[in-house]
């Protein structure tokens, strides 16, 4: 019997899309700031920097809200990558490399997703720190010195930007190829599940996320 269950509560959906818009804008404006002739997406540097700096506040708020929610509702149990998730990696890799068709049910997210989603939190903190060092060098000179100077902060900021580009691409690919049901759930909140067959969502996890 098929029925609809809530996969993504409203809070998660809102923060997901806010963060998506912010990070996408940060990546696009960031590339322009990096090389305005090569990535000519904006009219002026001023425009690109303004967008980058508005979105930097949005992403800070978005990160804070998402982390708060994860802790307050115990949702971190779904998403936080733990050491023990490592031992599930070989099984996940076998699945992704088409060596097996088995995708064991690890909970709301598989270990790879947990690694990427938790990693984004960590990388955002690095971007915020290196970004603030570059944005307000007079106010936060100490921040620059943590990274060994502003130039190193700038290099880290740029390389981490590439990690975002790559992981966002993988995320998009995997979610789109997992089927429209999962993609739709990030808009509506609901997935259709067949009671007879175990699904990506177990009942315990649902209770946690509700």
């Amino acid at each position: 019997m098929a029925r609809k269950v809530l996969r993504h509560p409203l809070f998660i959906r809102v923060t997901h899309w806010v963060n998506m818009i912010a990070i996408t804008s940060l990546i696009i404006s960031g590339f322009y700031i990096h090389n305005p002739l090569k990535y000519n997406f904006f009219s002026t540097m001023d425009a690109a920097r303004k967008l980058h700096f508005y979105m930097m506040y949005v992403v800070m708020a978005g990160l804070l809200a998402r982390v708060y929610y994860a802790i307050a509702t115990k949702d971190y149990q779904n998403i936080w990558f733990r050491f023990k998730d490592l031992k599930n990696f070989p099984a996940l890799l076998r699945y992704y490399l088409f060596l097996t068709d088995k995708h064991p049910n690890w909970g709301k997210y598989n270990p790879g997703q947990k690694l990427v989603y938790s990693g984004w939190g960590f990388l955002l903190i690095i971007q915020i720190l290196t970004g603030l060092a570059l944005y307000k060098p007079d106010t936060f000179p100490t921040l620059a010195s943590i990274f060994g100077g502003l130039n190193i902060a700038r290099l880290i900021h740029y390389l981490v930007n590439w990690i975002f580009v790559i992981t966002v691409a993988i995320h998009l690919y995997l979610d789109l190829t997992e089927g429209l049901g999962i993609v739709k759930s990030m808009f509506t909140g609901y997935v259709t599940v067949d009671e007879e067959e175990p699904t990506v969502v177990t009942k315990e996890q649902l209770r946690q996320t509700l």
């Binding site: 904006f42 540097m45 570059l134 100077g149 130039n151 290099l155 690919y173 190829t177």
Partner: protein, 354 residues
């Protein structure tokens, strides 16, 4: 030795006060400097792995001119370039002065400290038939000195002598002498005002000026070049010079102004005549720790990414990894289609190994 007149002296004092942003306190500055000129406190200047450029840069000082600084304002007991004595007489002269003024004198160090093979790559004289290694000498003098001024990026952070592959094992002065005692005046070379102003501050307040985490006085290295650059309008409006004949912001020619702390754009060089960016050359980040290696190629925006076996520009690095990801995802998509997996694994789920 011709003494400077009272009038000239006050002119210098007011100039110094202005450098310090203390125009209200000219008399106090004059007083402090006069005291200094009476031989209190003495200064000993020594050079290690350096090119003497920092001393030469000091020649650029207009008010006061170099002669006044070296002979009248500070009580310079020893400087290798102007020392009449040579050989062991010179060595004994500065060792003697250091002993005589223990705890009172200021040590100015120009140049990095070669430490490899016990410091054999830099010997600055002889004593009792034995070579005196720079690394030993500055340890000894550093302990006796009241404070140490590391002048130039080499002394402050290692600079060019410490650049990769650093064959002589050069380190900054603050790795050999207690860093709390050391004031860094980086720059390749430093602006004369940065040195004279810091020295005046020390004489006036009898303490080292406030510094940032890299030991640089905040009064000179408190902001980045880019925020005060006269070409900033070009930057904001995206007018970028593509070669040296074009007007515009020098960012894409490798300008390190956005990552370099110093007051060059407002202080100007050569007595206010010009400075790097006004002369059409990108800032090379000469006051930054890690200069030149970590500041990167002079005409490139970013330093290279170095991994074992690979070194590539940050751009190439990102683009290669990005392309590899695209190829990987494309290959996987083919796999997905071939195996008929597209659309999700839901139906094939088995109970999880939790």
């Amino acid at each position: 030795m011709n003494k400077i007149s009272r009038r000239e002296f006050l002119k210098f004092a007011s100039f110094t006060a202005a450098t310090l942003g203390l125009s209200q306190s000219v008399p106090e500055v004059a007083y402090a400097l006069e005291n200094a000129a009476k031989g209190q406190p003495p200064v000993i200047w020594i050079q290690g792995a350096s090119c003497t450029g920092c001393s030469i840069s000091l020649l650029n000082s207009v008010h006061p001119d170099i002669k006044e600084i070296l002979l009248e304002i500070i009580s310079l007991k020893f400087h290798p370039n102007i020392s009449a004595a040579t050989g062991h007489v010179a060595v004994e002269a500065f060792l003697g002065e250091a002993e005589k003024n223990k705890g009172k004198f200021f040590l100015v160090v120009e140049g990095a400290v070669p430490t490899k093979d016990n410091g054999v790559y830099c010997s600055i004289g002889e004593k009792d038939g034995r070579e005196l290694y720079f690394s030993e000498i500055i340890k000894e003098l550093g302990e006796k000195a009241k404070a140490v001024i590391a002048i130039g990026t080499c002394a402050a952070y290692g600079g060019i002598p410490a650049a990769d592959p650093n064959p002589t094992g050069c380190v900054p002065v603050s790795e050999v002498i207690d860093p709390k005692k050391v004031l860094n005046i980086p720059g390749c070379p430093p602006h004369p005002d940065w040195f004279v102003g810091s020295l005046a501050h020390v004489l006036l307040y009898n303490e080292l000026p406030k510094t940032d985490k890299f030991g640089r006085p905040k009064m000179f290295y408190g902001g980045i070049i880019h925020d005060n650059c006269p070409r900033r309008q070009y930057f904001d409006n995206s007018i970028f010079a593509k070669d040296f004949s074009e007007p515009g912001c020098l960012l894409l020619l490798g300008c390190k102004g956005p990552v370099t702390y110093s007051d060059c754009p407002t202080r100007l060089w050569n007595g206010g005549v010009n400075w790097c960016i006004k002369a059409g050359h990108p800032c090379i980040g000469c006051t930054e720790p890690g200069f030149p290696d970590k500041i990167g190629p002079i005409y490139e925006k970013m330093p290279e990414v170095k991994l074992p076996g690979i070194s590539a520009s940050a751009d190439t690095f990102g683009e290669v990894v990005g392309a590899a990801t695209a190829i990987g995802l494309g290959a996987h998509l083919i796999g997905n289609i071939v195996t008929g997996r597209l659309g999700g694994h839901k139906k094939k789920d088995k109970e999880g190994e939790k």
